[in-house]
């Protein structure tokens, strides 16, 4: 059992959990993930590690409640436990002093981009962070990201926070302003990552995205997380999760992620019938 040391909502349906997992905490590098299982009949789901502390042996994950399992995780509190936490899995982010590095986080993707932003700053980059969300309430970890960034821009679809527009609106602006950008990391919903790739493609700016395909074991064994990158089949769990955005076949990724849509809906219905209060959960 992996004890939950801290649990709090960052935004509606988005919960931060700090777990006791000493082996993971000791080895984890930015960009890596864990696979967790909530209960004995549960599924294995991959979740990116937002932070870790080797001293206390804890790792932090940020979970958006979208399906049955993530909603169940979001019902857990300090003192509860996850049944299994395995990791750290995946390759670490490639971090070096690129010069100016733009780190883009969309919604809960911010939690995944954050540790890499910290590492980028530590490596000597001038870090420009762009956070995007549908509205003000859904922007997470703004203060944390601000603390590690040289510049921070918040973009909301409805203009309720920061500036109105998409993360790509801001990225395009920076390019139009002739800002020198040497590296872009974008993590968020697939359409957002795809849009970022299209913005940086003409300028040939190296751009990295973190993919979240369907996955079972996370160690290269099942092949369920296969993604097409530059026409080659790659396994996101061992070759990724980060890939060259200009080579990723996003269409295929979207299609594969839709594969279990019906079953997922059924699972969610089951959960909502068992726990009628599982609708949107709000932070105080």
């Amino acid at each position: 059992m992996y004890r939950i040391l801290e649990a709090r909502f960052l935004a509606p349906d988005v919960k931060l959990l700090r777990l006791e997992a000493p082996r993971v905490a000791k080895m984890r590098q930015p960009g890596q993930f864990v696979i967790v299982r909530v209960h004995d009949q549960g599924e294995r789901i991959p979740l990116t590690i937002a932070d870790s502390d080797p001293e206390t042996g804890s790792v932090t994950i940020v979970v958006q409640g979208v399906g049955k399992t993530t909603k169940m995780i979001n019902q857990l509190d300090e003192g509860d436990a996850l049944l299994d936490v395995v990791g750290p899995l995946g390759a670490a982010s490639e971090v070096e002093d690129f010069g100016t590095s733009v780190v883009i986080g969309g919604g809960v993707g911010t939690a995944i981009a954050y540790p890499t932003a910290v590492a980028m700053k530590q490596a000597g980059n001038h870090v420009i962070s762009i956070l995007g969300a549908r509205n003000r309430q859904l922007v997470i970890l703004e203060e944390e990201v601000r603390a590690t960034s040289d510049e921070l821009f918040v973009m909301t679809d409805d203009g309720s926070g920061g500036e109105q527009g998409f993360v790509t609106t801001k990225l395009q602006q920076l390019l139009d302003d002739k800002r020198e950008i040497n590296h872009v990391l974008a993590i968020g919903p697939v359409p957002m990552m795809k849009a970022v790739a299209e913005v940086t493609r003409p300028a040939g700016i190296p751009t990295v995205v973190s993919l979240n395909p369907i996955m079972v074991d996370g160690t290269g064994m099942c092949g369920g997380c296969r993604v097409l990158v530059g026409g080659e089949t790659k396994f996101a769990c061992v070759d990724g999760p980060e890939f060259d955005a200009h080579l990723v076949d996003f269409e295929t990724l979207v299609q594969r992620n839709r594969m279990y849509r019906d079953q997922e809906r059924a699972g969610l219905c089951q959960l909502e019938m068992a726990h009628p209060k599982v609708g949107p959960q709000h932070h105080p």
């Binding site: 082996r23 993971v24 080895m27 299982r37 009949q41 549960g42 599924e43 294995r44 049955k68 399992t69 049944l83 299994d84 936490v85 395995v86 990791g87 750290p88 899995l89 079972v216 074991d217 996370g218 160690t219 290269g220 064994m221 099942c222 092949g223 369920g224 296969r226 097409l228 089949t233 061992v238 295929t252 979207v254 299609q255 594969r256 839709r258 594969m259 279990y260 019906d262 079953q263 997922e264 059924a266 699972g267």
Partner: protein
């Protein structure tokens, strides 16, 4: 106690048949196909043994089970002592009694088999192990007094378990590390419930725990901890790498990324380990097979396991697509027969060309081409040659690719001093399974490539003997 019959009379007894669930009934449930012999039948079968002075069966067994002694005890009705005798060489008798390809090993070497049907050693082995389990009086061997040495075993599949068992008996402190949440490796994620109930595997592992073996789940060696950390920080004196060959191969055909196309590993993991056959109680989904056309590409045991699982999930049709003939299939004949009896269609002499999908990105069919067999190729088997103009589409909403697996690179890539060959398998000395790194041994599929449970167990035993020698002498001879 039954008297030994004269040899002539022994050969007059026919080989006793294994009772099984009726084919059409079992094709719709996940309960075990083979039901096991009862005591009277097992004793009758044991009567057939010629009690050879130099029993070939033991030589044919990769772990060297003392078959004749076990069979003698069964004929005498002393099943518990038979079980204890079995356990001296085999930590997983209830498993191997079910999944060993006995026809190529103990039974393949049985002298009776020259003129008659070979002794049903596998069935007797299973009977003995099941009998012992039912009584709860497990004849576990007693470990030697503690040596103070610690060994880490990476992977809880058959190679790892067998090595851990032997080393524990020699008095070493052994911890088995498993990446998944459940112990057993391929025994739990790969082999379906109807061929090897998980309860059997859990029971054998529980016995090993009682013997003193330690287990740690959710540890991915190479990621959660490195080999160097195990040896330098955690005080392990030796490491045995038994990570298996778990990396699925794909065909690299157009459409292989469509929804509904699985590797056999993913399909079987979802069904076996994650219990996707019971969606009422378990959350892991599997793409629906109910009333679906399912095709499995490949002709090995894994392909048979996948196609028979699909049938049990309610498939309307479940077919094997294999590019050679049925005789050339690497699967055990028993499994092929079981599959056929259950209603599996064999589309042999056909090779897939591409996967076809709809605008939702979901599989709708597989285009295949007919083959004919030509001269033997590098593998010694007849080379399949495409017949031009024979293309056709087999409708399918689920396709399972079961064309083999490769070496998982996680451990090796984190420990570059361990030499690997060009396919990524670990290089280990044939006789003592030493790798190029002092104190580190490797065996089973991660060295040999995908093989059988019992061969992996044999490698585990070889490694245990070699590790014991290293721990006792400290010798690590370097190759000339």
């Amino acid at each position: 106690m039954a008297d030994k019959l004269p040899p002539k009379q022994r050969t007059k007894i026919p080989r006793q048949a294994m009772p099984e669930q009726p084919a059409l009934e079992r094709a719709r449930n996940f309960a075990e196909v083979n039901l096991g012999l009862d005591a009277a039948v097992a004793e009758k079968e044991a009567q057939r043994c010629l009690t050879c002075a130099d029993p070939k069966c033991s030589h044919g067994c990769p772990v060297g089970v003392q078959v004749r002694e076990v069979v003698d005890l069964v004929r005498d009705g002393d099943y518990l002592r038979a079980a204890a005798k079995l356990r001296e060489d085999n930590v997983l008798p209830a498993v191997t009694g079910r999944v060993c390809p006995q026809e190529n090993q103990c039974e393949g070497a049985c002298i009776l088999g020259k003129r008659f049907a070979p002794l049903a050693i596998g069935h007797i082995e299973r009977f003995v192990a099941d009998y012992e389990r039912a009584t709860g009086e497990i004849g576990l061997p007693e470990p030697a007094s503690p040596t103070g040495k610690k060994v880490a075993v990476v992977g809880s599949g058959p190679a790892g378990l067998s090595c851990a068992g032997d080393l524990t008996l020699k008095g070493h402190e052994v911890t088995v590390m498993e990446a998944l949440h459940e112990l057993g490796g391929v025994l739990v994620y790969g082999i379906p419930e109807f061929r090897l109930p998980k309860e059997i595997v859990r029971n054998e592992i529980e016995n090993m725990r009682k013997m003193g073996v330690n287990f740690e789940t959710n540890v991915v060696v190479g990621k959660s901890v490195t080999i160097d950390q195990l040896m330098n920080d955690e005080g392990y004196d030796a490491v045995f790498i038994a990570t298996g060959a778990g990396l699925p191969k794909f065909l690299n055909l157009p459409g292989e990324h469509l929804g509904g196309v699985y590797s056999a590993n993913e399909f079987l993991t979802r069904v076996n380990l994650m219990k996707a056959y019971d969606p009422e109680h378990y959350d892991s989904p599997v793409y629906t097979c109910r009333d679906a056309d399912v095709v499995v590409i490949g002709g090995g045991n894994t392909a048979m396991d996948a196609v028979r699982s699909a049938l049990r999930l309610g498939a309307k049709s479940a077919s094997i697509i294999y590019r050679r003939g049925e005789a050339e299939m690497p699967a055990r004949k028993e499994e092929q027969h079981h599959a056929r009896d259950e209603g599996v269609t064999f589309l042999t002499m056909h090779n897939p060309l591409q996967f076809l999908g709809n605008d939702q990105g979901l599989l709708t069919g597989v285009e295949v081409q007919q083959m004919e067999l030509g001269e033997p190729d590098g593998s010694g088997r007849a080379r399949p040659i495409p017949i031009a103009g024979s293309e056709k589409v087999v409708p399918a909403s689920v396709a399972i690719v079961a064309v083999g697996t490769g070496a998982n690179p996680l451990v090796q890539s984190s420990t570059p001093e361990i030499n690997t060959n060009k396919w990524g398998y670990i290089q280990a000395d044939d006789d003592n399974l030493r790798t190029s790194k002092r104190g580190v041994f490797a065996g089973g599929d991660i060295v040999s490539g995908a093989a059988t449970v019992i061969l992996a167990m044999g490698a585990g035993r070889t490694a245990a003997a070699s590790i014991h020698e290293y721990l006792t002498t400290g010798d690590w001879p370097t190759a000339e």
